[in-house]
C-alpha cells in the first residue's frame, strides 16, 4: 500500500506534465493568432493578447515536478556522473529532503496568503478589457509547489528503497537518460 505512493504521485505529475505540454502548444497557437491578427488585419483584442501569458504560466510551472522524475533538471555532474548507484541514491535522498522539500514548502507557505488575497478580490487584469482571472494564474504557484513537494517525497522514497536494497527501482524513468534534450 505504502509502496504505491511514489507511483501515484508520479502518475499525477505525468498528467500535470501532459497538461503543461498541451498548454505549450496552445501558447504557440494563441501567440501566432495574435501576430496574424495584428500584422495582417491590424486588429487585436486585449484578452487575446493576454491568453498566451496564461498558457505560458501553466507550461512553465506544471512540468517542473515531472521533470524531476525524468531526470531533466541539470546537475553539476562532474562527480555525480561517475558515482555508483548507492552514492547517487544518497545524494538524491539528501537533496530531496534538505533542498527540494524546504524550497517547495517555502514557496507554498508564502504564496498561499498571496493567492488567497488575490482570490478574495477576484483579482482581474490591469487592462480594462483583459481576462479577469489573474487569481487563476497566481494559483499556479501553490499548485506547482505542492506537486513539486510530493514528487520530492516520491524521489526520496525511491532513493531510500535503492539504499536499503529493497527493490531495484531506478531513480530516473527508463529511457529518459538516453533521450538527449536539445
Amino acid at each position: 500500500m505504502m509502496k504505491q505512493i511514489p507511483i501515484v504521485v508520479t502518475q499525477v505529475n505525468r498528467f500535470a506534465a501532459s497538461i503543461a505540454s498541451t498548454c505549450l502548444f496552445f501558447l504557440f497557437v494563441t501567440q501566432f493568432c495574435v501576430v496574424l491578427l495584428r500584422y495582417v488585419f491590424d486588429t487585436g483584442f486585449v484578452w487575446m493578447q493576454e491568453l498566451p501569458l496564461y498558457f505560458h504560466g501553466a507550461a512553465v510551472l506544471l512540468a517542473i515536478a515531472y521533470t524531476l522524475h525524468t531526470g531533466g533538471h541539470i546537475r553539476v555532474d562532474i562527480f555525480y556522473r561517475s558515482a555508483d548507484r548507492k552514492r547517487k541514491a544518497r545524494i538524491d535522498a539528501a537533496g530531496s529532503l534538505f533542498f527540494l522539500l524546504p524550497v517547495s514548502v517555502t514557496i507554498f507557505w508564502y504564496s498561499l496568503p498571496y493567492v488567497i488575497a488575490s482570490w478574495a478580490v477576484m483579482e482581474g487584469s490591469a487592462q480594462p478589457a483583459g481576462i479577469p482571472a489573474v487569481f487563476v494564474l497566481k494559483t499556479l504557484l501553490p499548485v506547482f509547489s505542492l506537486l513539486l513537494a510530493f514528487q520530492g517525497i516520491a524521489q526520496f522514497w525511491r532513493a531510500c528503497a535503492v539504499l536499503s536494497g529493497e527493490h531495484e527501482a531506478d531513480l530516473a524513468a527508463p529511457g529518459s537518460e538516453d533521450e538527449d534534450l536539445a
Binding site: L27, I78, F99, V103, A182
Partner: protein
C-alpha cells in the same frame, strides 16, 4: 563565530558552490542552501523578507518578454527532431566541397545557424558530436581539428541570436541597467531590450564564425588532406537537392532574426513565427512527395508580405481588395500550417517535440526560480553591499573590476552552466559594473558587457581540462579519439576566443555599433 555570522553572505556563496558539486539538480540546491542561510540569518538578527518570494515568482511567469523562451525552445527542438541539422550539414558539406577543410567549416556554420535550439552546452555538443564526428573522421579530417571544431561549434550557438541564454542575459541586464541608472540619478534611462542584446551579439558572433573558418581553412591547407576531406555521403546530390535542404531553414532563421533586428516584431512574436516555420519545414520533410505542404503556407506568407508592402508603399490600406488578398493569404498560411501540424501529429513527432520542449522549459525556469530565491536571501544578508564594496575598492578602476568579474565567471564556467551564472552572478555584479566608465571613457553599455560575458563564458566552456563542452564531447566521441586530441584540438579555438575578447575590449564598437545604428 561572530566573524562567520557577519559574513553569512559570502559563506552562503561558498557553501552553495560546494553543495552544487554533489550533483543534486542545481535549481533546488541553490534555493535550498539559500533557505538554510535565511534560517541562520533569522536567528542571528538579520531579517530575511521571504514574503517577496511569491511576488518575484509571479513576476517570472507573468513577464511577457520571457514568453519568447518556450517558443524558441519549441522551434529548436522541432528543427532537431525533424533532422534538419543533419540535412543542413550534408548540404553544406556538398556546397563547401571545393573549400579546404570544407566539412569542418560546415560544422561551424551549422552550429551558428542552429543557435535557437541551444540552451545548454552539453546537449548541443553531444548532438553535434553524434551527427558530425563520424563523417568528419571518415572524410580524413584530423581528430584534433574535428573535435575542436565540434566543441567550438557547440558553444557558438550561445552567442549567436536568437539563443535563449541571450534572452535571459538581456532580461537580467535590463534590470541591472535600470538599477544602476537609478543609482546614478538618471530616473528615465532608455530601456535595454532583448533586441538590443541580439543586435549587439550579432557582429561578434559573425566575427567568431569568421576567425574559426579562417583557422579551419588554414589548418586544412597546411596539412593538405589531398582532397580526401569531403563528405562521402553527398556525391549523388544535385544542386537543387542542396538548395531544397538548405534554403528553407536558412530563410527561416534569417527571417526570425531579421524581424527582431529590423524592429518589425518583438522577440516573442518572431519566435511564434519561427515555430510556425519550423513546423512547416518538419511536416514537409515527413512527406517529401507532397511539396504543397511547403508551397501553400509559403506562398500564403509571400502574399501577406507583398500586401503589407503594397499598403505601405501606395497607402492603400483599408481597401476591400487588399483585405480580400490578405484574407486569402492568411487562410493559406493557417491552412497549410494546420495540415503540417496534422502530419506531425499523426507521426507522433509533435507529441515527442512537446514532451521534450516542456521538460526543457521546466528545467530552465526551475533554475530561474531557484536562483531568484538565492538572490533574494543573498541580498537580505547584505551580499549586495559586500560585492559592491569589493568591486569598487579594486585597484585599476574599470579594468580591474571587469577583469575580476570575467575571471570569476570564467572559473565558474568550469562547473556551472550559462543559465546558473546568468541568474546568480549577473544581478550581483552588473548594477555595479554598469556605473563604471568603458575603456574609451563613455558610460558602460549593457550591450557591450553582455557580449563580453557571453564570449567569456563560451571560452570557459571550451578550455581544457575542465571545459564543459570537452567533457560532453568526450562522452559522445568514439574511444579511438584520444582525450589528449580533444584537449589539443580545443586549445587553438580557445586562443581565437581570447583574440575576439581582446578585440572587443579595445574596439567596443564591434558590439555597440549595430544596436546603436538599428534602434536609435
Amino acid at each position: 563565530m561572530t566573524l562567520l555570522l557577519e559574513h553569512l553572505d559570502l559563506l552562503m556563496l561558498a557553501m552553495s558552490l560546494l553543495m552544487l558539486l554533489f550533483g543534486y539538480p542545481a535549481a533546488f540546491t541553490l534555493g535550498g542552501v539559500a533557505l538554510v542561510f535565511a534560517g541562520i540569518g533569522f536567528f542571528s538578527g538579520a531579517a530575511p523578507t521571504m514574503g517577496a518570494i511569491p511576488i518575484r515568482l509571479f513576476g517570472i511567469i507573468s513577464n511577457e518578454t520571457l514568453i519568447a523562451v518556450p517558443l524558441f525552445i519549441v522551434m529548436g527542438i522541432v528543427l532537431k527532431k525533424a533532422r534538419i541539422a543533419e540535412d543542413l550539414l550534408t548540404a553544406l558539406g556538398w556546397l563547401f566541397r571545393k573549400v579546404p577543410g570544407g566539412l569542418s567549416v560546415s560544422v561551424t556554420v551549422v552550429g551558428a545557424l542552429l543557435a535557437a535550439s541551444t540552451g545548454i552546452v552539453g546537449a548541443t555538443v553531444v548532438t553535434m558530436g553524434l551527427i558530425s564526428l563520424p563523417s568528419l573522421l571518415k572524410a580524413g579530417v584530423s581528430p584534433r581539428l574535428a573535435t575542436g571544431s565540434i566543441a567550438a561549434a557547440g558553444t557558438l550557438g550561445q552567442i549567436i541570436p536568437p539563443s535563449i541564454v541571450l534572452v535571459f542575459l538581456a532580461d537580467q541586464l535590463s534590470n541591472a541597467y535600470q538599477t544602476s541608472q537609478r543609482e546614478m540619478g538618471n530616473f528615465a534611462p532608455d530601456p535595454f531590450s532583448i533586441a538590443d542584446l541580439f543586435a549587439a551579439a550579432f557582429l561578434p558572433g559573425l566575427l567568431l564564425v569568421g576567425v574559426y573558418v579562417i583557422y579551419q581553412i588554414a589548418v586544412s591547407l597546411r596539412t593538405d588532406t589531398g582532397g580526401r576531406d569531403r563528405s562521402t555521403g553527398c556525391g549523388a546530390m544535385t544542386a537543387i537537392d542542396v538548395w531544397f535542404a538548405m534554403g528553407p531553414p536558412l530563410a527561416l532563421i534569417l527571417c526570425v532574426l531579421g524581424a527582431i533586428l529590423g524592429g518589425v516584431a518583438t522577440p516573442t512574436e518572431a519566435a511564434s513565427l519561427g515555430v510556425a516555420g519550423a513546423l512547416v519545414l518538419a511536416g514537409n520533410r515527413q512527406l517529401p512527395g507532397r511539396r504543397w505542404l511547403l508551397l501553400v503556407p509559403l506562398s500564403g506568407a509571400f502574399i501577406l508580405v507583398l500586401t503589407q508592402f503594397g499598403e505601405a508603399l501606395w497607402d492603400g490600406s483599408g481597401s476591400v481588395f487588399t483585405f480580400a488578398v490578405s484574407a486569402i493569404g492568411a487562410l493559406a498560411v493557417a491552412g497549410g500550417l494546420f495540415a503540417n501540424i496534422i502530419v506531425l501529429f499523426r507521426n507522433g513527432i509533435l507529441q515527442n517535440v512537446l514532451k521534450s520542449a516542456v521538460e526543457f522549459t521546466a528545467m530552465v525556469f526551475a533554475i530561474m526560480i531557484g536562483a531568484t530565491i538565492f538572490s533574494l536571501v543573498f541580498r537580505d544578508l547584505g551580499g549586495d553591499e559586500t560585492v559592491s564594496v569589493l568591486l569598487q575598492d579594486l585597484p585599476g578602476g574599470t579594468l580591474g573590476a571587469v577583469l575580476i568579474v570575467m575571471a570569476v565567471m570564467f572559473a565558474l564556467g568550469f562547473f556551472l552552466d550559462f543559465l546558473e551564472i546568468v541568474f546568480v552572478v549577473v544581478p550581483l555584479v552588473a548594477p555595479i559594473l554598469l556605473q563604471l566608465p568603458m575603456p574609451d571613457g563613455s558610460p558602460m553599455s549593457p550591450a557591450w558587457l553582455g557580449v563580453m560575458m557571453a564570449v567569456n563564458l563560451q571560452t570557459s566552456f571550451l578550455t581544457p581540462p575542465f571545459g564543459f563542452a570537452l567533457f560532453y564531447l568526450r562522452g559522445a566521441a568514439p574511444k579511438e579519439v584520444a582525450t589528449a586530441d580533444i584537449y589539443l584540438g580545443a586549445a587553438p579555438f580557445v586562443g581565437l576566443q581570447l583574440l575576439v575578447l581582446i578585440c572587443l575590449w579595445f574596439f567596443p564598437d564591434i558590439a555597440t555599433w549595430l544596436p546603436r545604428y538599428l534602434f536609435s
